[in-house]
Symmetry: C2
Subunit: 398 residues, 2 copies
């Protein structure tokens, strides 16, 4: 089963918008075992869109068209698809009513051109999911199929997961359920993970299901993705649960969370469960830790704040690990919290070499410390220090 | 003149990397008046890359291949191009020496496969710019041309600007110099800008050179891009300078900078020139201002720090503008700076409606204040508050 993605919109070619939809679709298709050999961007031009769709149908079994479904005169995807299908358009009354209802419920006046979105090629089926005013379409052409979805990422994703992916899987005669779980890790290299999991990899190679893959993701750590293909949801869940338990047994607390959990959401949840509050002293991290924590804890009931200031020199003869511990304690008392955090980068004259950062977490007066060696690039040092510091706290809260 | 972009790499199709190179190239080509009607992503597969390049040469005058020039067995772009050109490869000794030298100068051992990068199709010219170990290529095919550049964005950009763009312009018989300047604005809507510039737009429509276009860029404001096409560099500079002066006369201090200047770099420069230092009290902005300022002022000699904490309630009966002013003064005294900044979002019970934020800048004890109405989405409110606050300071420093 091959599926091609065509992203439609002149603004994509002009670089005004970066096409991230194709990358997301490519990842989803790969996860589902569907090949995607070509992804194309084309402008709002009838003949060129038509040529791309026709070529897509020649060399693939399915084509997903993203964008060009809105109400303006640039939005011609529907018309091009009708031409390729060799059919006329019909007004879909149910869709027209939905569009009117969306405007009414938002208290907005609907201009007439919005109803153009209710015109669909004869023989095409509107996609049930319709979070916006532009319906998606499933358009059979011979034994193949063209899907059309809006370019708005959230709408595109809802329609893909709700209708297109199941339809593709049905056409491919695939196992009816494909589910994945991402185990999020921090603190071990990809080769280190591969070594620990080597035996399990061999076993799964023979079993064939589930499969495991790594994905290095910068400050989001290395993701271990487990994919299970099964006949039903319950079996998929059972397999994913069993595999997660097995991998957790091998990797231990290198795993900080699953799926969309971030380091800060995990740390905040651990703090909340224990009724703890936290504050920070930010020097090298310059506000990045606070920005992340306050984005995840919007009321700032758990993350109580931070003081951001440059280190005031290495006077007093204190070593960097002592200064980090002192700053973490100071953050606790300044913000009246039970936990304090700090990261200190030693001065160039302290003899630690570039990329060295000292981390400190003070939990109720108990000091936890770690020295990390990071890529000596300032931007990366700042970001990796934040995650490493949160990870130090996490490991001492679990 | 038509130029097609082909991004090569299976990791692009799988969504492991988002292809931002094509968007950048599309923008550059559009600026230069070169049409780019198709952009294609294809995996590391000989036959499929070949098909894409051949199709590109059919429907366009030039093809830029991005990626697949490294030393591993996945990197086959060079070989595919040789096949399309119908030629063998030759070892380029100068390139081989350069590659050896790059490894030596970094004190690293070179594995033999790196010299594969010195193999180039007979008839192709290596691109003079070579910041990494993979050379770019200019490969004539009949009257058309294939360019090959590495997928590393910085290397790709240097080669495009240094060699490919001038070569494309020469082939197109274009004016030898195309230069652009971006005037960065904050605080006026796109329709507001269009109204103020309407007369000038009409004049330029008749003149044809330079041209002006808007580009809405979220928290980077709205960019006004001026493009001049001329016979020589001096004329281009003169036209851009004159147009910038004219637009500045119309828009005034809505323009905060040019080209790659960000709001924070502009504000930091104004502060430095006056010998001022700044600190902030961050409540709703939660560290975002500090993270941006400390990234731009790495030594924190001008941005001296911030205190991040939730507002401690509206007790005392102070109005939000008074609380913002108080917090800005407090930041000055706490960090011993001459300038203090604060943004306060009133409580839901204070009757200001959602999206309302009070900004305060205290310069040597003089209070400057502004009330802004932002989209009441928390993430956007935080980010837009930061830029609006820095803009308030900028306007009172100029």
């Amino acid at each position: 089963m091959r599926c091609e993605v065509i992203a439609i919109g002149t603004e994509l070619l002009l670089g005004i918008i970066v096409d991230s939809n194709s990358a997301w679709l490519g990842e989803q298709l790969a996860l589902a075992g569907i090949d995607s050999y070509y992804q194309v961007k084309v402008g709002d031009n009838f003949a060129r869109i038509e040529a791309c769709i026709r070529q897509g149908l020649e060399r693939s079994d399915a084509v997903i068209c993203c964008g060009g479904l809105g109400p303006t005169q640039d939005d011609i995807t529907r018309d091009v698809i009708a031409r390729v299908m060799g059919v006329d358009m019909r007004r879909d009354q149910a869709i027209a009513d939905k569009i009117r209802h969306i405007f009414e419920s938002r208290g907005r006046v609907m201009s007439a051109n919005n109803l153009l979105q209710a015109n669909i090629p004869i023989g095409a089926q509107p996609i049930a999911q319709m979070p916006g005013t532009a319906p998606g379409l499933v358009c059979p052409v011979g034994g193949k199929v063209i899907y059309a979805v809006p370019g708005v990422p959230s709408e595109m994703r809802e329609m893909f997961l709700g209708t297109i992916l199941p339809d593709l899987q049905r056409r491919a005669g695939q196992a009816s359920v494909i589910r994945s779980r991402v185990l999020r890790t921090w603190g071990m290299s990809e080769s280190g993970l591969a070594e620990v999991l080597a035996k399990r990899f061999d076993e799964l190679d023979k079993l064939g299901n589930p499969t495991i893959a790594f994905q290095a993701s910068g400050i989001d750590g290395i993701k271990v993705r487990v994919v299970a293909k099964c006949d039903d949801e319950a079996t998929a869940t059972r397999i994913l649960n069993a595999e997660e338990e097995l991998i957790r047994g091998l990797l231990g607390d290198v795993i900080f969370g699953i799926d969309d959990q971030s380091m800060e959401t995990v740390v905040l949840e651990l703090l909340r469960r224990r009724g703890l509050t936290v504050a920070a002293a930010e020097t090298i991290t310059g506000g990045i830790l606070s920005a992340r924590m306050s984005a995840a804890d919007t009321t700032m009931e758990t993350f109580r704040g931070a003081r951001i200031a440059p280190e005031t020199g290495t006077a007093g003869g204190l070593k960097p690990e002592q200064r980090a511990a002192g700053a973490a304690s100071q953050a606790r008392s300044e913000f009246a919290t039970r936990v304090g955090l700090a990261a200190v980068a030693p001065g160039a004259d302290e003899g630690y070499g570039p990329g060295c950062v000292f981390l400190a977490a003070d939990i109720d007066g108990s000091q936890h410390a770690e020295k990390v060696l990071l890529t000596p690039d300032r931007r990366r040092m700042r970001e990796f220090s934040v995650i490493s510091l949160l990870n130090l706290l996490r490991r001492n809260l679990s």
